[in-house]
């Protein structure tokens, strides 16, 4: 797959290039400053883009803005946004509009190479990859007569992994249960949260996230 990287820190940039090349991906281009990103993406039209949030010249949220701007011109362009810290608001902005192929992860996760590549692959396929920390924050919110309280611990785990964007097979694997029982848990979660049943695609992630974000 052809990937564009935007990261201002040379060390991390080289690391990402190395990581992607060694796992058989092609690095179609690298951007080291904010203003380079959108032209590069429009020029290369990669299969996925990996963007750092904070970039020169202002070191604010250039990467995030570039991701949103590029997706306006290239709808559906898969972007995986990396950041030194996660902020719910940013997740909401990225996921807004029901768009497909969005990821938002802490930079730390790059260290778990397999999981990172899995997340990138998911995003490139139009799926979602949301950092566990964002999901934890969303789930720990206080709600009026919290319906999440009605979930069993296992169902909460399933909901957490669903919100991160994993499919049933991965959920089953990480919880060490069968896919059948994952399917059953998901059904229970949707019933208890009074969500309309939906397939296992990105629509399901949207429904869950929309619920958690409310």
């Amino acid at each position: 797959m052809r990937v564009v990287i935007a990261e201002d820190n040379a060390l991390l940039r080289e690391g990402l290039v190395l990581l992607l090349r060694s796992s058989g991906h092609e690095v179609a281009g690298v951007a080291a400053t904010g203003p380079e990103i959108v032209p590069l993406l429009l020029d290369q039209r990669p299969d996925a883009a990996v963007l750092d949030v904070r970039m020169p010249p202002d070191f604010r949220d250039e990467g995030l803005r570039a991701a949103l701007a590029a997706r306006e011109q290239l709808p559906g362009l898969p972007v995986l946004v990396l950041s030194q810290y996660v902020e719910e608001t940013y997740a909401a902005e990225l996921l807004g509009g029901g768009a497909r192929g969005v990821g938002y992860l802490l930079k730390d996760r790059v260290g778990r190479v397999d999981e990172f590549l899995d997340a990138l692959g998911r995003v490139a396929d139009g799926g979602t990859a949301l950092d566990p920390e964002v999901v934890t924050e969303l789930m720990s919110r206080r709600r009026r007569d919290d319906p999440l309280a009605a979930l069993t611990p296992r169902e909460r785990e399933v909901l957490h992994l669903m919100a991160e964007g994993h499919d049933n097979a991965t959920i089953a694997k990480s919880l060490v249960v069968t896919e059948r029982s994952v399917h059953k848990h998901i059904g229970n979660v949707f019933t208890k949260l009074e969500l309309p049943p939906s397939d296992s695609g990105h629509r399901r992630v949207r429904a869950v996230l929309a619920y958690l974000n409310a």
């Binding site: 949030v53 949220d61 810290y85 902020e87 719910e88 206080r142």
Partner: protein, 393 residues
């Protein structure tokens, strides 16, 4: 007519209290003279500062009374009386406020009684003239307003005597600034120590242990790959934990979202993640320049604390945050319809759950920047927390 009579009654009452105060002044003069004699005889040296404090209390009462009558507050500035008897005597004698108070005590004794007599006398023509003049004929009262004017006169005199001189106010301001600067230096020092401790005990220790595990893994690399792998797994976990800790430290120093989005964006992010229904409004004349980083951070932490309190302890479901930015000031006001009682726990009724501890931290932070915190949170709610931070010094 009725309104004029009402006003006259209030004026009369004002002067009756003034008369009472004059009598108290008589007593204060006696007390002061006894104090002087006692101090001269050394035996009763502690008495004079106490007398000065009593005079201050009476003067303070008169200031509030004048403030209430005219609607304009009378500022109060005193040097604090602390330390040994000699120190207290010295600061009492050196305080220009003491002289002012004594002048007022002497004057109030005279005009308080005199004006009270005037008002008593005025009631006779008021009844004789204004009674038929406006009670029967319906004309504008003539004598009744004079009663109000008499009370005004007393207030004006008291104000003139009790308003501290500009120098005294300036001196007090310098004192305040010295205090807040000392507070700022202390807060800064404490903050540096906290950061140092967090980095030293947390991150540094983790990195050492991480490096150690990598070293061990290298040794095991050829002979025992399984152990090497397990060690590398542990090393990665350690690295991740170090990163998480660093993130917490950074957030505590200066929240990154403030840098990225400015105060308004950061407050909106707080509101979104608070779990409450929060309405954020922004007003004021924002010319686009950002407030100093320390001011933004203090405002941010204040809002964070207020919203946490509202959700956690106040049981609120909705709140509103108002952000005002003028060239010289940042003001944040957080209002919630929760149970209230945010401040009472400052004294700590339940040591396990001291509600106000966060608020105390906010007060310190804000005071160090010469700002102010106002909390109104009656039991049963609502709670209002208002923080004002100057941006130009």
């Amino acid at each position: 007519m009725e309104r004029a009579v009402g006003r006259a009654w209030r004026a009369t009452w004002h002067l009756v209290v003034g008369f009472g105060l004059s009598c108290a002044c008589l007593f204060l003069v006696a007390l002061f003279l006894i104090g002087l004699v006692a101090t001269a005889l050394v035996v009763g040296a502690g008495m004079l500062p106490e007398t000065v404090m009593t005079v201050r209390r009476f003067a303070g009462f008169e200031r509030r009374r004048v403030g209430a009558w005219t609607g304009v507050e009378v500022p109060e500035v005193y040097a604090p009386l602390t330390g040994t008897v000699v120190q207290r005597l010295r600061s009492a004698a050196g305080d220009p406020g003491t002289v002012r108070d004594l002048l007022w005590v002497g004057a109030q004794m005279v005009y308080g009684i005199a004006l009270f007599c005037v008002v008593l006398v005025l009631w006779v023509p008021a009844m004789v003239v204004d009674g038929p003049w406006c009670g029967v004929l319906g004309r504008t009262p003539v004598v009744l307003p004079l009663l109000t004017r008499t009370a005004d006169l007393e207030s004006a005199w008291s104000r003139a005597l009790l308003t501290p001189s500009p120098q005294a106010r300036l001196a007090r301001r310098v004192e305040q600034l010295t205090e807040t600067r000392a507070g700022a230096v202390a807060a800064h020092g404490a903050e540096l120590r906290r950061i140092e401790r967090d980095l030293h005990d947390g991150t540094q220790a983790r990195l050492v242990s991480l490096s150690m595990r990598i070293g061990l893994a290298k040794r095991a690399y050829d002979t025992d790959p399984a152990t090497g792998r397990a060690l590398l797994d542990e090393a990665q976990t350690q690295a991740e934990e170090a990163l998480t800790e660093l993130r917490h430290v950074v957030r505590g120093i200066h929240p990154p979202v403030l840098t990225d989005r400015g105060l308004e964006g950061a407050v909106r992010a707080l509101a979104a993640s608070s779990g409450l229904d929060v309405e954020v409004s922004v007003d004021g004349t924002d010319d686009g320049t950002r407030a100093p980083a320390a001011v933004e951070a203090a405002a941010y932490f204040a809002v964070a604390e207020a919203l946490t309190n509202a959700a956690k302890h106040g049981g609120a479901e909705r709140a509103s945050v108002t952000l005002t930015r003028t060239p010289r000031l940042v003001r944040v006001r957080v209002h919630d319809e929760g149970r209230g009682g945010a401040e009472e726990a400052l004294t700590g009724t339940d040591p396990e759950q001291p509600r106000g501890t966060g608020l105390i931290g906010i007060r310190r932070r804000v005071a160090a920047l010469d700002g102010s915190v106002r909390v109104t949170s009656p039991a049963g709610g609502p709670t209002d927390i208002e923080v004002e931070l100057p941006c130009a010094w």
